[in-house]
């Protein structure tokens, strides 16, 4: 293709990307200031706010809590999502469209509504396990996303792969475990990664369900802002940004960007 005339398009793209990234740039910038105020552009350059954050135990504690929470809720979403996706992808049953719409609906209801609902449920059961009830809530929140992505990937798999496995002597379950699921592994890993991130970043449901004994990283940031707007907040945010971007790049390297974009 003669692409030499495409430069206006790429200029537009660069501007858009800059616009979308501006919040991240501002936070990263604000984290290296020498002053004691959350401001942009920063005054001078220093890493002292990073030192302060890494020195405070509360940040590492909440980080570990958030990672644990994200891992457990991702596992719940995966366990629950795989059979549901398989059933939807096979899907020569009536009402498939309606069922898909229902599966997607938790994705499209305000998380505040989910929070209220879960609060009602948990107040009935009276079980006092804040970590597990939040993990379960995040599982409910992220599973529709995983099901959506995995169903789309499974529908792309040539059905003759499953048939070939059966013809070669595999049982129905064996054909899925040994052939169909390995074929969609990249999509599954990408979907699991996103489920992890969705849980890791979630704030609203966490605020409602966690109770006084459980604090996630976004909750800690939220609480901190109420008291003081110190550049330490920006430093924490900067660390989070670098960690997620690194995660995306690693996944992209392993799976190829096409998988992730889809």
């Amino acid at each position: 293709m003669s692409r030499t005339r495409d430069w206006p398009l790429y200029v537009v793209m660069a501007v858009v990307i800059l616009f979308l990234l501006s919040p991240l740039i501002v936070v990263v910038g604000a984290s290296v200031t020498t002053s004691s105020f959350l401001e942009f552009p920063p005054r001078g350059f220093s890493l002292k706010w990073f030192e302060e954050v890494l020195g405070q135990e509360v940040w590492t504690t909440t980080l570990i809590t958030s990672v644990k929470l994200a891992v457990v809720s991702m596992a719940i979403a995966t366990v629950v999502g795989i059979p549901c996706s398989i059933a939807l992808a096979r899907g020569d049953f009536r009402g498939r469209a309606a069922i898909t719409a229902f599966v997607l609906s938790p994705l499209m209801v305000p998380s505040i509504v989910l929070a209220i609902s879960l609060l009602i449920i948990y107040s009935r059961t009276g079980i006092d396990l804040p970590f597990w009830r939040l993990a379960l809530a995040h599982g409910v929140l992220t599973a529709p996303y995983l099901i959506r992505t995995l169903t789309a990937a499974l529908e792309q798999v040539d059905s003759s792969l499953e048939e070939a496995a059966r013809n070669l002597g595999a049982t129905p379950v064996g054909a899925w475990l040994r052939v169909v699921l390995p074929t969609v592994r990249p999509a599954l890993i990408a979907a699991m990664f996103f489920a992890f991130i969705m849980s890791f970043d979630e704030l609203v449901v966490a605020l409602f369900l966690s109770g006084p004994r459980l604090t996630t990283l976004p909750m800690q940031i939220y609480g901190e802002i109420q008291y003081n707007l110190s550049p330490a907040i920006a430093a924490v945010s900067t660390l989070l940004i670098f960690l997620t971007v690194a995660g995306v790049l690693v996944i992209e390297r392993v799976l190829g960007v096409r998988r992730l974009v889809r």
């Binding site: 040539d158 048939e163 013809n167 595999a170």
Partner: protein, 378 residues
């Protein structure tokens, strides 16, 4: 000895539609039979019923005399080569071939040897560690075959296995398949819509039309003595015209069609009957005629103008427009540059023998019944 595969009154309906309609077919041990027909004729559905992916609405499928209807797919022991190859993309060539052996609980230490043996048979030993995506189309095709053959099935089903290969490779692969099939002696049921492919490699061809079997015979019989108009047109090029019987006596029949007097040997039809007459282009001889030659050229002959020539390498396909506008095809052998004279615009005389004319029941009649029942194989 029991036939390897027997289909009895096989029927498959999808809702209102009957896709396979009362199909009877017997494949003997070691035979290669093609199911040939246009897309939607039910040939692939038939194959899928034998493999167990579709459930018959009626009838029986017997393998060596036993009804396999109740067996699940993975216990049928019938190999299937897919049109898309269906290689497992995450497994190497070796693991693709070993897949079936593992599922059949072949002892671990036997597997490498058996995989290597079958890869040697399809000349792929060197590529055992590659992933399917790193192979060419022809190599993928070979892996798909090897993966099935390693299980030593006595019956192999092939679903248009060459349709994704280009012309030259297709010819090579079909020769190879035929050689392997004859060497290993397995029975094969081969689905294709390509009549050239079916003719080149089959022991017998089963021609299907709208779910029904219309002819089952050796390639040369299907080609030269098609049972119906549909078979005549589907199997290769044909000069086929509707006409009326003028005279019928002593095993000879005379008919008028397309402004030509047709004489046919060994056909029988009552006087006045509507029939179709057919002659294959390769049985039509052409000779140059004077620019003003026209009129009655006698029986089984016609004058005309050459309107198109297509070079075929070993021959040349010439289209002749006769004086009443009929288009006649003649496939002329290119004998040492002599064809150059048969150029567009020249006048020529087409001629064919009474023994090469086939007479079929005409459109108005009970379609499907061959008129030439009396004819014996030469």
């Amino acid at each position: 000895m029991r036939p390897e595969l027997e289909l009895r009154n096989l029927v498959r309906r999808y809702g209102e539609e009957t896709v396979v309609d009362d199909l009877d077919l017997t494949v003997e041990k070691g035979e290669l039979v093609s199911l040939l027909g246009p897309s939607g004729c039910g040939k692939t559905t038939t194959l899928r019923m034998v493999a167990g992916f579709a459930r018959p609405s009626g009838g029986q499928i017997l393998v060596r005399g036993e009804d396999i209807a109740a067996l699940p797919v993975h216990r049928r022991g019938v190999g299937l080569v897919f049109q898309s190859y269906a290689l497992f993309p995450h497994l190497s060539v070796f693991d693709n071939v070993a897949f079936g052996l593992k599922r059949h609980k072949v002892p671990r230490r036997e597997i490498p040897g058996r995989v290597r043996d079958v890869l040697a048979k399809v000349q792929l030993e060197a590529l055992a560690d590659r992933k399917p995506a790193q192979l060419s189309g022809g190599q993928q095709q070979r892996v798909a075959l090897a993966r099935v053959l390693v299980l030593e099935p006595s019956l192999v089903l092939l679903d248009e296995p060459f349709s994704n290969l280009d012309a030259l490779l297709r010819e090579t692969m079909r020769s190879e398949l035929r050689a392997i099939q004859q060497r290993l002696g397995f029975t094969a049921l081969f689905v294709t819509h390509d009549q050239e492919e079916a003719m080149a490699l089959s022991d017998r061809i089963a021609v299907m039309e709208r779910g029904r079997l219309v002819q089952l015979d050796r390639p040369e019989v299907v080609y030269h003595r098609p049972a119906t108009r549909f078979v005549a047109e589907f199997i290769g090029r044909a000069n086929l015209f509707g006409g009326t019987v003028r005279r019928a006596e002593g095993g000879e029949l005379e008919a008028a069609a397309a402004g030509i007097r047709w004489l046919a040997d060994g056909a029988a039809a009552p006087r006045g009957a509507a029939v179709d007459v057919m002659v294959r282009p390769d049985r039509v001889a052409l000779e140059l005629a004077a620019a003003d030659a026209s009129g009655d050229a006698g029986p089984n002959a016609a004058y005309g103008e050459i309107v198109q020539t297509e070079y075929l390498g070993s021959g040349c396909l010439v289209t002749l427009r006769t004086d009443d506008g009929t288009r006649l095809l003649a496939e002329v052998r290119t004998a040492a540059d002599g064809v150059a004279e048969l150029a567009v615009g020249r006048r020529a005389l087409a001629r064919w023998a009474a023994g090469d004319v086939r007479v079929l029941a005409g459109e108005g009649d009970d379609a499907g019944a061959p008129v030439e029942a009396a004819l014996q194989a030469g």
